[in-house]
Symmetry: C2
DNA sequence: GTCTATATGTAGATAGAC
DNA sequence: GTCTATCTACATATAGAC
């Protein structure tokens, strides 16, 4: 054949990774197949050599996103004692709010995932539970896992729907301080 | 004329209110003008008697959403002492998670608002700040206003991206307990 | 004010040349 | 494997009849 043995796989991976950024920036539904392909230097017609449908790309893209995010946020045995606190600070930053294309998938594609197929949502659930378990275990706090995740996702959404940078920083700051305080509270 | 004096205004209001539900359920970008009009028994052509563009409907719709939500959540002088706690419980409910069409706009259209015009985002910011102020004042807690809002929005997103009802309830329950605990914590 | 018909663009997806 | 060309559907928006 005219292409190397690994060419197809490489193209597919490039397509997924580039599409991840574009979808987080402009929305998945709001971006056409042609635009995804053009971003890696190809034309729309070649898309269907790699995926049976646009929906299949969405499923793949979301899986990659959550695999990447949860691994990064969960941390391993070598992580420092303040691992979660560090991740919270970087997640709840103005830089994150201003760059959806390289950030967490949930504040950008959350509603689109919510409308996706049960198969997609089941995989998302599996990844999120792993992250929740990691955080709850690390903090020895059953509720904190889900609660901290929710606080992160919600604060990012709020930070992005407001117009002024000042308010954006207020939201993120309030969120960070609130979480620090909560972790010191008695757990009835 | 063949129509009553108030007919146009009534049609416009019906269009906005019906569109609010549809957009929260299926997404605004994912719904065509024809679908919005068909839902109130009209055809697509009549849309432009009421709005100059689809984007103008979005702006109007979001404004109505936030006006309605913030008024409901903020509460007035007559509200009971546990007003915020009550609102948190109903917001963080499985019923809310399962019915986006009648629920809060932020967990459904948040990312679309984030990509909207500065004018739209400025109005959203104004409404949200009012709600934040109301909650912070009521709880005598500067950070709690934004933090509680973020917790609500994020928990709803998480609750909707998972597949099982069991996990959905875990997320919402953990969020509720976490907030109750946090309000009893010392504020540095 | 609403209708049908239509202009125009773009969407997802397929066919066949290379 | 990727290209161009194309099918079909549906998008936003407009024009003119009623």
């Amino acid at each position: 054949m005219r292409y190397s043995a690994t060419h197809k796989q490489e193209t597919r991976e490039k397509l997924i990774n580039t599409s991840r950024e574009i979808a987080k920036k402009d929305g998945f539904g709001g971006t056409g197949v042609d635009a995804f392909m053009k971003a890696i230097g190809l034309t729309g017609g070649a898309f269907y050599t790699h995926f049976e449908s646009k929906a299949e790309l969405f499923a793949e893209l979301v899986e990659h996103e959550l695999e990447f995010s949860t691994e990064m946020l969960a941390g391993d045995e070598d992580a420092p004692a303040d691992h979660v606190a560090r991740k919270l600070r970087s997640y709840l930053s103005s830089a994150h709010a201003l760059h959806p294309e390289t950030g967490c998938v949930l504040p950008t594609l959350g509603p689109e995932i919510a409308r996706a197929s049960p198969e997609v949502k089941a995989r998302v659930e599996k990844s999120l539970k792993r992250l929740r378990d990691a955080w709850s275990e690390r903090l020895d706090d059953d509720d904190a896992g889900w609660a901290l995740l929710a606080q992160c996702v919600g604060a990012l959404i709020l930070a992005r729907v407001v117009e002024s940078e000042r308010t954006r920083r207020e939201i993120l700051g309030a969120s960070r301080r609130f979480l620090e305080r909560a972790e010191k509270a008695p757990r009835k």
